[in-house]
């Protein structure tokens, strides 16, 4: 492991440690509203949107454990867990895919 890689890895670990900063923003991103939020904004929920919106049930929706936490301290454990699991999975999948296809050893 070269020094640059180590430093970048440490930087990533630091990002994970401070990841709850991302919880300060509580607003929904533009165009990512739930059907309930649309109902409030425009008075109806488009038909197709209603049908597709619950197509998929993720394991940890919104990077949180189930239970509808609405304060930063109660959201932080789920957020940390999500950052660690997600980060490791991305690294793992990325590594395996690249390992499988990269041929050059120079």
């Amino acid at each position: 492991m070269d020094r640059t890689f180590k430093v970048l890895l440490i930087a990533l670990v630091v990002l994970v440690v401070v990841v709850p900063i991302g919880l300060i923003a509580t607003g929904t991103a533009y165009g990512e509203w739930g059907p309930d939020e649309l109902q409030q904004a425009i008075g109806y929920v488009p038909d197709g949107l209603q049908h597709l919106s619950d197509l998929w049930t993720p394991l940890l929706p919104d990077y949180d454990f189930p239970g509808g936490h609405d304060t930063l301290p109660t959201q932080a454990p789920g957020y940390y867990t999500s950052a660690i699991i997600g980060g490791l999975l991305c690294a793992g999948v990325g590594y395996l895919v690249a390992r499988a296809i990269v041929r050059r050893t120079d």
Binding site: G27, T28, G48, I85, G94
Partner: protein, 241 residues
């Protein structure tokens, strides 16, 4: 910028899946042909970095939020085709495990964040940096600006995809079936939010990380050797900062 299920109709999300298939295939081919085995850990790190950086939501006045993506940095260091792979991996995990970005909109999200950002950013960086030395201020500025440009344009593209929904998909009476807002709302909204807030985060992380890598280990930058300043004895830190 993670378009959820329900915001794009079948015409749009199917078209963007179809567009992505050859791009994914070619990206795999490019990585196979061009990446070296010692860059594989960097690719893995890049995918994890993309995932984590997208968790840093930035609040904006008016109650909305958004974030940087990290694809510009990956494109400049490991190549835009590598960034297609790492961003798609991060988006896949976000979509499947965390419900961030729709299953139907996965192709669209990969196109916006995994293709538009990397290629726009990489070519902006190339254009601005020209023949400047690897760790020169101009090249670091080029990387930073590339991050800003990439994310901002991708936001406009996402706004466009959402904004054409009322035209493409509606009931016979004209009621929108998917994204209810038209182009006149979605494009300015996405543009302004990103140009004023989130793209600056992309600018800072891209510039900082590029500066660190260029000064300390330019060898890992995928097109470094093919560049003009290989005469500075590749890998030496003697390059003026």
């Amino acid at each position: 910028m993670h378009i959820p299920d329900g915001y794009l109709g079948p015409l749009t999300f199917a078209a963007l899946y179809i567009v992505m298939i050859p791009i994914w295939l070619y990206a795999g081919h490019w990585v196979q042909k061009s990446l070296r085995s010692r860059q594989v850990p960097y690719l893995a790190l890049a995918a994890a970095f993309s995932f984590v950086i997208m968790m840093f939501n930035v609040p904006v006045p008016g109650g909305s939020s958004g974030h940087a993506v990290g694809s510009a940095l990956v494109a400049i260091i490991l190549g835009p085709w590598t960034a297609v792979v790492t961003t798609s991996v991060a988006l896949l995990i976000q979509c499947i495990l965390f419900g961030d970005g729709g299953v139907t909109a996965f192709g669209a999200n990969c196109f916006n964040m995994g293709v538009v950002i990397p290629f726009l950013a990489y070519y902006s960086y190339k254009l601005i940096s020209g023949r400047s030395a690897i760790a020169s201020n101009i090249r670091i500025a080029a990387a930073a600006i590339a991050g800003y440009v990439g994310l901002t344009v991708a936001a406009v593209v996402a706004g466009f995809e959402m904004g054409i929904q009322p035209i493409l998909e509606h009931t016979p009476a004209g009621v929108p079936l998917y994204m209810p807002y038209g182009l006149n709302v979605t494009v300015p909204a996405m543009l302004i939010e990103h140009a004023v807030f989130f793209s600056w985060v992309e600018l800072i992380i891209t510039g900082l990380a590029f500066a660190y890598i260029a000064r300390n280990n330019p060898e890992i930058i995928f097109d470094y050797r093919s560049r003009n300043d290989k005469k500075t004895n590749a890998g030496q830190v003697a390059v003026p900062a």
